[in-house]
């Protein structure tokens, strides 16, 4: 479903990604973990070209991501993205946040778009919030709305860029529950996160990154029980010791 080959990305003198290869199969849940600055988020943002790589290719469902223009917009429509800071449109209600792209990009009528949107809001448990503005919702509710907004485009795959990092601890669970539900429904997912519990329980595969490279990857049980690289052992020692 997602095929990454030889991805390079530099920010000035800093190399954020070097020679990254990654394959995500249909229905697979890949969780990317690693220390800050390891390139996890950059990789995630390159997958729908919010960040344009300096070299390498990304293919979504067989089609290579074009550099820009309408063709890129069409491919992005098939890949949902959830951000750390939610990025709901502040000037629109939750319902309007969900219907904007289906109406403008997919050409759905308002009735169809609103029916889908309300069903999705019910599915993520915030049906009662449809007519509120984003700022009137809690962080956890906003992030669930953002997930519903991405799902409203009926994407083939979903990218999550640290979806729970900006949340108060008591709201992390409700967002992870929605994501777990999605994974169980067979959604193809790439999840950048620091939630080791989620990685352990939901991931089909864990990818560990450090210094812009994929250092190792494997099933959660292999990875957490016996990491092969020193850097992964060191990282796990720090995050799992508390």
């Amino acid at each position: 479903m997602i095929e990454v080959r030889g991805l390079h990305k530099r920010f000035g003198a800093h190399t954020a990604l070097r020679a990254v290869d990654l394959d995500v199969a249909r229905g697979e849940v890949v969780v990317v973990i690693g220390p800050s600055g390891s390139g996890k988020s950059t990789l995630c943002r390159c997958l729908n070209r919010l960040e344009s790589p300096d070299a390498g290719t990304v293919r979504i469902d067989g089609a290579e991501l074009p550099a820009e223009g309408r063709a890129l917009a069409r491919l992005r429509a098939d890949v949902g993205m959830v951000f750390q800071s939610f990025n709901l449109f502040h000037h629109k209600t939750i319902l309007q946040n969900l219907t904007l792209a289906p109406m403008r990009v997919r050409g759905l009528s308002r009735e169809e778009a609103e029916r889908d949107a309300r069903a999705l809001l019910d599915r993520v448990g915030i049906g009662a919030q449809a007519d509120k503005l984003p700022a009137q919702l809690s962080g956890g509710q906003q992030q669930r709305a953002a997930i519903a907004r991405a799902l409203a485009m009926r994407p083939k795959a979903m990218l999550f860029d640290e979806p729970t990092s900006a949340l108060d601890p008591e709201m992390v669970g409700e967002v992870l529950d929605v994501m777990t539900g999605l994974a169980e429904d067979g959604m193809t997912m790439v999840v950048v996160t620091h939630e080791m519990g989620f990685a352990r329980q939901v991931a089909d595969r864990v990818v560990f990154m450090a210094d812009g490279e994929i250092v190792e990857s494997g099933t959660p049980s292999e990875f957490f029980a016996s990491p092969t690289s020193d850097r992964a052992r060191d990282f796990l020692g720090k995050v799992l010791s508390h």
Partner: protein, 214 residues
Amino acid sequence: MNVITDHLSEFGHGLLLTVELTLLSLAGALVAGTAVAAMRVSPVRVLRAAGMAYVEVLQNIPLLVWLVIAVFGLPEIGVIAGLFTTSVVVIVLYQGAYTAEAIRSGINAVPSGQGEAARALGLTFTQSLRLVVLPQALRTVVQPLGNIAIMTLMNTALAAAVGVVELTAAANRVNLAEAQPIWIFVTAGLGYMALSGLLGLATGTLERKWAILR
């Protein structure tokens, strides 16, 4: 006070023309300013350069000079338009440059995640600007746009210099007949104050109505 009451119709016509000049100029400047601001943040280099050149050229020559150039220069190249029309077009283009800069600062104040989220949903750059970024940008710059609107109102007085009989020119004509400059121009000034008061009220109302919850 007779100098005023005897010439109410002159003052009235002048005031009406000032209102017309101002409203047409404001509408035009908002359209021109939005278009130029969009060019200045576009991913296309040529559009960005053209937008910047527009702002630099228009802002760095005084409005009075532009008015004189247009009134005398346009007929030379075969463009015949009335003084009122010429003045409106020149004021629109001139205030459009200031409006564009105010709107651009509003665009820069919208968090970059808003545009990213829009593009990640499959909206094109133009759609994300029009549907997500610009509506938020305009709401954040209501106050500076209100200032520009008042500046536009004041600048319509320069049309008097090229023969449009708006409020200032009307006052000047009355003064030529009556030679009572203080009363006559204080009256004109009160007219401008009343109009700018209305613009200020409109700005305040819009700002409260459109405030964005973040």
